[in-house]
């Protein structure tokens, strides 16, 4: 019976890659939105949306 460790190795690494990639994307989007909201609030001279 062959053990096929490279397949196991790549399967688990790809899972981490996909999850970490998605988490990073969420982080980037969150920071971009926060920056843009702060900039627009300054432009509009207001406290926040209703």
């Amino acid at each position: 019976m062959e053990q096929h460790f490279p397949f196991l190795f790549w399967a688990y690494n790809i899972i981490w890659f996909l999850i970490c990639g998605y988490l990073l994307t969420l982080g980037f989007r969150q920071r971009r939105v926060e920056r843009e909201v702060a900039r627009l609030k300054r432009t509009l001279g207001m406290g926040g949306p209703a």
Binding site: E2, F7, A11, I19, Q30, V33, P49
Partner: protein, 233 residues
């Protein structure tokens, strides 16, 4: 002091992932025919089950949006679809990696694989349809319709193995067979729990981001109205 509401779910998910990894590699018995490559199953199959849950949440949120037209349902539906797509991608990538040594091919147009690929394409459509119009209400309405109709594929994916008798193994019910060995079953259950925590954790991050994007859209609209008034006067 650590904020429990902010760090609780990520910490829980990490702890569960470490336990599942330990159980996958050191606790679960080695499968007699496939050998160690079968251990992919403990992260592949639970991802498939929790992606069904994610698309069920999208289905419920889509119906709620179409009935109430409240933006919060669209935000929940969008968040759940995005996470469901990540989980379906895990299923679609790890499945072929398991299939290569076991079936001798990465991909075959077998019923479970084909219907899962269709599921992924449907929910990609849910995300992409929003780019075809600038009207936010229309975006949400179109997506919600796909969220409702697209869910019809979930039971088809689930029962495809029984209906079309493909190569894909039955996971939850083995008719006339012994089913999963106890250590394998425990590891599989822990995998489901881990993905459930991961789903909850990602939702707790993605839904507030959706709300923030909605605030941003509102602010942009206000800024654009202000600019138009200045130009007009």
């Amino acid at each position: 002091m650590l904020d429990a509401s902010r760090f609780g779910l990520p910490v829980l998910t990490t702890v569960l992932a470490v336990i599942t990894l330990y159980m996958t590699f050191f606790y679960a018995a080695r499968e007699k025919v496939m050998g160690d490559v079968q251990r992919i199953f403990y992260f592949h199959a639970p991802a498939g089950l929790i992606c069904f849950l994610a698309f069920f949440v999208t289905f419920v949120a889509s119906i709620a949006y179409l009935v109430t037209r409240k933006k919060k349902w669209d935000i929940i539906g969008q968040a759940s679809t995005e996470i469901g797509l990540v989980l379906t991608s895990i299923v679609l990538v790890t499945g072929p990696i398991w299939a290569r040594p076991v079936w001798g091919t990465y991909w075959t147009w077998e019923a479970r694989l084909t219907t899962t690929m269709i599921l992924w394409l449907i929910y990609m459509g849910y995300m992409l349809v929003r780019r075809y119009t600038d009207d936010p209400d229309q975006q949400a309405r179109f997506a919600a319709v796909i969220g409702v109709i697209g869910f019809l594929d979930v039971p088809i994916v689930y029962w495809s193995v029984s209906w079309w008798r493909g190569h894909h193994p039955l996971v939850l019910k083995v008719s006339g067979g012994e089913g999963l060995e106890p250590t394998m079953r425990a590891t599989f259950m822990m995998g489901i729990l881990t993905y459930l925590a991961l789903y909850a954790c990602l939702m707790s991050m993605r839904v507030p981001l959706g709300r923030a994007e909605e605030d941003l859209r509102w602010l942009r609209q206000r800024a654009s109205e202000k600019t138009s008034r200045k130009v007009g006067s």
